[in-house]
Symmetry: C2
Subunit: 190 residues, 2 copies
Amino acid sequence: MSTQTVTQPTTKTVNGVNVTALFETIDAVKKDQELAAFQFRSNNHWIDGGHNRSTIQSFYGCRNEDSTRSEPFMLDADEPPILLGQDKGANPVEFILHALAACLTTTMVYHAASRGIEIEAVDSALEGDLDLRGFLGLSDEVRKGYHDIRVKMRVKSGATPAVLKELAQFSPVFDVVSRSVPVKLEIETY
Amino acid sequence: MSTQTVTQPTTKTVNGVNVTALFETIDAVKKDQELAAFQFRSNNHWIDGGHNRSTIQSFYGCRNEDSTRSEPFMLDADEPPILLGQDKGANPVEFILHALAACLTTTMVYHAASRGIEIEAVDSALEGDLDLRGFLGLSDEVRKGYHDIRVKMRVKSGATPAVLKELAQFSPVFDVVSRSVPVKLEIETY
């Protein structure tokens, strides 16, 4: 950190976030809203039964195809034995909870940094309730996904829970899960 | 597989899914709907900046706390450099695409198995469009999460795309993303 201060004397870091760069990004987007258009991508390959693997590497943002990732992230999903899998990875609905926790945390930390609010620790516990009758097609009245998700975050900070909650709710994944997103699904066979 | 066939001569497997066990599950849930109540969980710990880690192990289902996982799944999330992270993992909105692809694939494969439809290969490509102005709080008219998600699945099977699409749409994560889920967010500080 001291080296960074010497070589970039104007860089300010709060909560591990380069706030100088964050404000530069905000200013740039205010002047040119096309910089805000991002596209994220994932490719998935089925392996067997409940086991499949996603490859995540390229994305578009700030008018550019990103080229900083030399290797893709590989993510395996599977189901536990009771759901007829071999447990070679967390299952898809568990990945939703991970995505939600990660996004609420990062969003809180970034927005706190932008306001000069220091955060020393964040730990969260998530639960998602799901009635398997929806997936199994046994009832039209039971939804297929989670019917309730609970997130408990424990934050070491001088800010109030109300302020931290306001900051966390800028989270894109919180928005995706708590509001609907149009999903266009196309299938071709060969 | 041959050992299993010898010891359980009635086990039928389609697409890597034990269809005998699948039908047993369906029959059991029809008789006792409490077996269908599942709860999945994730704990997340903030590391620094955009970097955090989820630990996924326990879950509840079929009237039992699962005890088959001897080790938790550890999942790191981060942001790429352009989003002020150090790229130590896929980012939260990329995990959403992984969860969606994995769930659509597993759901299609399981439901196809239950109908005796053989699937030889599934590959999918997902794109999610997001306008960063929502996250940055620069516009009330721009949502924070994805405004559109596209899924293209390529399936090697004798079944028609229409049938496969119908099967895939039993997916719990498709339901979570394309419909809203109530998320209860509680924050405490110390």
